[in-house]
C-alpha cells in the first residue's frame, strides 16, 4: 500500500545518483569552470578578477530571483528587461530629490508593472508569456518616452553605490547576496512562498483548497517587477548613466537561462534559489572565459545554448522520474 513507486535497490541507487547530478549538476559545472580557468586563464586567481565577475553577475542574479518566483508559479516574466529600462528612466527623472527618493520611485514603477502583469494573468486569465510580452513592449516604450536618450548620472551617492565596497566586498554584491537570502527565506518560510509553490504545482488543487490564487500571483509579479527595478538601479549606478535604450536588453533571456540551468523546472511547483545563483554564476563564468580568451562572440551564444540544452535535458529526466 505504501509503495514508493520505484523499482529494486540498484535502480534506486542509480536513480538517486542521477537525481543528485540533476540537482547539483549546476554547482558541479561552476566548479569545473573555475578549475579550468585557474589552469588556463592568466591572472584568473586574483581578488580583482573575482570582484569583477561578482559585480557583473549581480544585476542578472537579482533579476533571476524574481524570474525564479514567476517560473515557480508556472509562469514567466518577460518584462524584466523593460522594467530595468523603466527603472533607470524614473531614477534619472527623480534624482533631483536625492538618490533614496529616486530609488523608491524606480522600485514603485517596477512594482506597478508587476501589478499590471499580475492582474492580466490572475484576473483576465491571459497567459503569462503573452501578458508579460505586452508589458515588455509597453515598458520599454514608456522608458524611452520618459528619457529619450542616455543621460549621465552625477549623483555621488549613486556613484559610490556602483563602485564602493564594504570590507572589500562591493555594495552590488552585498545587495545581491542579501536579496538572494531574502527570497530564499520567503520561499521557504512564508505562507506566500508555500502557496506560490502549491499554485505552481497544481492550480486547480490550490484553487479548491481555497488559496488566494489571484493575490499570490499578483504578488509574484510585483516581486519580480520590484527586483528587476532594483537591478536597473544598480546597473545604472555602475554605469553612472541612465541608458533606457540598451539597459536590460535580452535580460529576460539571461534570467530565464539562469533559473532553468539552476534546476527550477519550467512546469512550476519548485523554486531553487541556490541553483539560480549557481546558474547565473555559471553563465557569467562561461561568458568571461570565452571573452578572456578572445573567442568570437558567436561562440558565447553557442556555449550558452549548449548549457541550456543540457539543463533542459536534465529537467526532462527529472520530469519522467
Amino acid at each position: 500500500m505504501t509503495d514508493i513507486g520505484l523499482g529494486g535497490r540498484t535502480r534506486l541507487d542509480r536513480d538517486r545518483l542521477l537525481r543528485l547530478l540533476q540537482d547539483y549538476g549546476v554547482h558541479l559545472g561552476v566548479a569545473v569552470l573555475l578549475l579550468v580557468n585557474i589552469a588556463i586563464t592568466p591572472h584568473f586567481l586574483s581578488a580583482e578578477n573575482f570582484r569583477t565577475q561578482a559585480v557583473q553577475v549581480a544585476p542578472v542574479l537579482i533579476v533571476a530571483l524574481g524570474m525564479a518566483l514567476a517560473i515557480g508559479s508556472e509562469g514567466v516574466d518577460l518584462s524584466v528587461g523593460s522594467v530595468m529600462a523603466l527603472s533607470t528612466s524614473l531614477l534619472s527623472l527623480y534624482l533631483g530629490y536625492g538618490m533614496w527618493i529616486a530609488l523608491l520611485v524606480a522600485v514603485l514603477g517596477g512594482a506597478a508593472v508587476g501589478v499590471a502583469n499580475g492582474a492580466l494573468i490572475a484576473y483576465i486569465g491571459v497567459q503569462p508569456i503573452v501578458a508579460t510580452l505586452a508589458l515588455m513592449v509597453a515598458g520599454r516604450g514608456l522608458a524611452q518616452v520618459l528619457l529619450p536618450q542616455l543621460k549621465d548620472v552625477h549623483d555621488p551617492t549613486m556613484a559610490s553605490l556602483g563602485s564602493g565596497d564594504l570590507l572589500g566586498i562591493p555594495y552590488l554584491v552585498l545587495i545581491a547576496v542579501a536579496l538572494a537570502l531574502l527570497v530564499a527565506f520567503v520561499v521557504r518560510r512564508t505562507t506566500f512562498g508555500r502557496q506560490l509553490l502549491a499554485i505552481g504545482d497544481s492550480r486547480p488543487a490550490a484553487k479548491l483548497a481555497g488559496l488566494p490564487v489571484r493575490r499570490v500571483l499578483i504578488l509574484v509579479y510585483v516581486c519580480s517587477g520590484a527586483l528587476a527595478a532594483i537591478a536597473g538601479v544598480l546597473a545604472t549606478a555602475r554605469l553612472t548613466a541612465s541608458d533606457p535604450t540598451s539597459l536590460g536588453n535580452l535580460m529576460e533571456l539571461s534570467a530565464i537561462t539562469a533559473v532553468v540551468v539552476g534546476g527550477t523546472p519550467l512546469s512550476g511547483g519548485r523554486v531553487r534559489i541556490g541553483g539560480t545563483v549557481a546558474g547565473a554564476v555559471l553563465i557569467q563564468l562561461l561568458t568571461a572565459t570565452l571573452i578572456k580568451h578572445d573567442l568570437p562572440p558567436s561562440w558565447t551564444q553557442i556555449a550558452q545554448a549548449v548549457v541550456i540544452i543540457l539543463a533542459v535535458y536534465a529537467a526532462r529526466e527529472r520530469g519522467r522520474r
Binding site: S92, V105, L108, A116, I124, A288
Partner: protein, 378 residues
C-alpha cells in the same frame, strides 16, 4: 484611460473583471502618473547646463564639408538625366524621413540639423520618424509624398526593399537624396545622390590616431559594434588594414563586441583588463563603448592615459573625455547633414551638377582641439 478600454474589450468570462480592470488601470496609471506628472525632478534641473547639445546643432558651424568636392572619378548627376523638373527650393516642400528613434546623439543631431537648415533657408520641411521599423519607414515616405513633398531626404534604415517607394517617387518625378546610409538602387535614376561618411576611412583614421598615441608598438584591443552591421564591418576593416600597413608592431590581441552600448563596453573592458593587464590601447567603434571602457578603467584603479583610447563619432561626452585626459582621440562621424543636403538639392533643382556619391569630410578631436571645439561636438 487607454488601458481600461483595452481591458474591457479583451476581458471575458471571469467575474473579477471589473476589479481586474481597476487593478490594471491603477497599475498603469501609477506608472504613467509617475511619468507624466510635473513632480519629476532630474539631477540637471539644478544646473541646467547640459542643454548645449540642442543649441549647438542649430549653430551649423559644424556643418559638413565635402571631403572631395566634385572629385575625379565620382559620377555626377543633372536634373535632365534624372527626369525631374527644375524648381525653386525656397517655395518647395521637402520631406525628411528619419530611420531610428531620436534616442541617441547622432540621430538627434541629424534631425535637428535638417530642421535648422530648413528654417534658415525658409523651406517648408515635413518630417517623419520610422522608430526603427522598416515597414513604418516605407509608409512614412509614402505619406510624405502624399502630403505633397516635392523633394525627399531619406535616412534609410535598411539598404534593400525600397522599390515600391522609388517607383512611386519616380512617377511623381520627386528627387531623392539619401543620407548616412546608402540604398541598393541606381544613383541618378532611382535616386539622385548619397551623402555620407566613409566608415572604412573612419577606421583608418582611428588607426592613425592609435599609432600616434601608442608609438606604433604594443597590444591593442577592439570593441566591436553590433554584429552584422555594415558600420561595424567597415570600421573594423579600415582599422585593421591601416594597422597592418603602417605599424606591424602594433598587435590586435582582443576583439569582442560591445554592441555599441556603454554597459556592454564596460563589461567587456573589465574582462579585458583582468586577463590582459598590459594592454596598451583600446579602439572603440563608437563613443558609447569608449566611455564604457573609461568606466571600467576607472573602476580598476587605472589612471588617465594608462591605456590609450580612440573612439569614433564625436559626441560631447567623448570629447569631454579627451579634455579629462581619458580618451586620446575621437574621429568624428558628422551627423549634421542639413546644410549639405539642402545645398545638394538646391544645386540640383537649379539644374546644376551634383555628385552621385558625396563623401563628407569628418573632422577629428585630439588634445589640441578638444577644449576649443567642445561646442562643435554633438
Amino acid at each position: 484611460m487607454k488601458p481600461n478600454i483595452f481591458l474591457r474589450r479583451t476581458s471575458g468570462r471571469t467575474q473579477g473583471r471589473a476589479s481586474a480592470s481597476t487593478l490594471l488601470a491603477v497599475g498603469l496609471a501609477a506608472g504613467l502618473a509617475l511619468a507624466a506628472t510635473g513632480c519629476a525632478k532630474s539631477e540637471d534641473d539644478k544646473s541646467g547646463d547640459s542643454d548645449g547639445s540642442k543649441s549647438s546643432a542649430a549653430e551649423g558651424d559644424a556643418g559638413q564639408v565635402v571631403s572631395s568636392p566634385g572629385a575625379g572619378g565620382g559620377k555626377s548627376c543633372v536634373i535632365g538625366d534624372y527626369g525631374a523638373k527644375k524648381l525653386d527650393l525656397k517655395s518647395a516642400t521637402v520631406g525628411f524621413s528619419q530611420s531610428e528613434k531620436e534616442a541617441n546623439p547622432f540621430r538627434i543631431a541629424e534631425t535637428a540639423s535638417m530642421k535648422a537648415e530648413a528654417g534658415k533657408r525658409g523651406v517648408k520641411l515635413l518630417t517623419a520618424n520610422a522608430q526603427s521599423q522598416f515597414s513604418k519607414q516605407i509608409s512614412d515616405v509614402q505619406d510624405l509624398i502624399a502630403k505633397g513633398a516635392d523633394l525627399l531626404v531619406i535616412a534609410p534604415l535598411n539598404s534593400d526593399g525600397w522599390e515600391p517607394v522609388l517607383r512611386q517617387a519616380k512617377a511623381k518625378h520627386i528627387p531623392i537624396v539619401t543620407i548616412d546610409r546608402k540604398i541598393n538602387a541606381a544613383a541618378c535614376k532611382d535616386y539622385v545622390s548619397f551623402i555620407g561618411s566613409d566608415f572604412v576611412e573612419q577606421g583608418r583614421r582611428a588607426a592613425d590616431r592609435m599609432i600616434a598615441a601608442t608609438g606604433g608598438k604594443g597590444e591593442v584591443a577592439i570593441l566591436l559594434g553590433a554584429a552584422g552591421n555594415n558600420v561595424t564591418t567597415d570600421r573594423t576593416k579600415g582599422f585593421e588594414e591601416q594597422i597592418e600597413k603602417k605599424a606591424p608592431d602594433l598587435k590586435v590581441v582582443f576583439k569582442q563586441t560591445g554592441e555599441f552600448a556603454r554597459e556592454k563596453g564596460q563589461q567587456v573592458t573589465e574582462q579585458l583588463i583582468q586577463s590582459k593587464p598590459g594592454i596598451d590601447g583600446i579602439y572603440a567603434e563608437n563613443d558609447e563603448m569608449g566611455l564604457g571602457a573609461v568606466g571600467a578603467l576607472k573602476g580598476a584603479g587605472k589612471k588617465a592615459g594608462d591605456v590609450k583610447i580612440v573612439t569614433i563619432d564625436g559626441t560631447k561626452n567623448a570629447v569631454r573625455g579627451i579634455v579629462d585626459g581619458w580618451i586620446d582621440g575621437v574621429i568624428e562621424s558628422n551627423p549634421r547633414f542639413g546644410p549639405l543636403a539642402f545645398q545638394t538639392l538646391d544645386t540640383f533643382t537649379k539644374g546644376g551638377k551634383v555628385a552621385q556619391d558625396i563623401v563628407i569630410k569628418d573632422s577629428a578631436y585630439t588634445k589640441d582641439n578638444a577644449e576649443s571645439d567642445l561646442g562643435k561636438a554633438y
